[in-house]
């Protein structure tokens, strides 16, 4: 029997959060963490609350803190997460808890909105599409794949301390995705908005974001590229 400890908190009725213990029979299978949560909800306690949707690592809904490390419950196998037959599941750190494992992601989305995550091009639209060379298109690899699960930003202490000012690794990865796009014409305006002491420069390169990204992306490298672009712009 797998020992599972789940963070429970209902701000409307509970004075403080608590960890609730469950024993789950996995039948010796290497299930995903999401499967265990589904079993708890179906067989033990229907009130356990969490987000999930695609269950295959595409939608980014079920970002959770699993045995101390952020990840997507649907693609994290028990063999990767469980230590000493114990599984501890908490909500993503640093964001307000709405209920149990569901967090309020307003601050995360506000930072994403701040970087204007859309192509800005004022030249007349061509009849079919704006073309890129294969080389320019390749510059977006490792950037566009982000699913905004927030695993990276909520593992970043700089985002914990200044979630209203530091854009965070997810937002900055997307900021560079548009800075690197040959079709975007707002490079200078984008860089000007990132040049304060908080938006980019609160990143101290500890690479928690790289460590937890379920898609294997590297926000720290993207942030380094943004710094280089800011330097070149100032030079």
């Amino acid at each position: 029997m797998l020992q599972v400890s789940v963070y429970r908190f209902n701000p409307e009725t509970d004075a403080a959060p608590q960890m609730q213990e469950y024993e789950v029979e996995t039948g010796g299978k290497d299930l995903m963490v999401l499967d265990v949560l589904e079993m708890i909800k179906a067989e033990h306690d229907a009130s356990v609350t969490y987000r999930r949707s695609c269950r295959e690592g595409v939608c980014g809904s079920d970002g959770l803190n699993i045995n101390g490390k952020n990840g997507l419950a649907c693609i994290t196998p028990l063999s990767d997460a469980v230590k000493n037959n114990k599984l501890v599941i908490r909500p993503l750190p640093g964001l307000p808890v709405v209920r149990d494992l569901v967090v309020d992601m307003s601050l995360f989305y506000a930072q994403y909105e701040k970087i204007e995550p859309y192509l800005q091009n004022n030249s007349p639209a061509p009849a079919i599409e704006r073309l890129q060379t294969p080389e320019d298109r390749a510059k977006l690899d490792g950037l566009y794949e982000c699913i905004l699960c927030a695993c990276c930003s909520t593992s970043c202490p700089s985002f914990w301390w200044n979630p209203d000012r530091f854009v965070g690794p997810a937002g900055l990865l997307q900021a560079y995705r548009f800075l690197a796009d040959s079709r975007d014409q707002a490079t200078d305006e984008r860089l000007a908005k990132l040049d304060d002491p908080f938006s980019v420069f609160r990143c101290h390169g500890i690479q928690n974001c790289v460590n937890v990204c379920p898609k294997g992306l590297n926000p720290t490298r993207a942030i380094g590229h943004i710094r280089t672009m800011l330097l070149n712009r100032a030079a």
Partner: protein, 119 residues
Amino acid sequence: MVTQVTSFSRNGLSDWLIQRVSSLILLAYFLFIGVQIATGIDYTSWRALHDTTAMKVFTLLAIGAYVSHAWIGLWTVFTDYLTEYMLGPVGNVVRPVLQIAVVLALVVYAIWVIHVIWG
């Protein structure tokens, strides 16, 4: 509320650049001083070394680097941990008080060094 108004240059790139350049200056200074001490130095030669204009300029450069490096680093620490977000309303009292204390200490250090080497 945490704002950038008390940051060293009020610009992220400048602060970042100043912190890195100042760290190189400090590294060079302490390596130089370390080598002097390691190779054996007495009061007379120590005094002679610091009486040269080049060494005075180097020391002045180092204290400038020290002040800017310390302020940028501590400002970052203060605006991370001593905020209303972290401590509640008291954060908006503790942070400015500590910032003023640090500024005063750094100004005193700088004046003291200038007095020692040029006085």
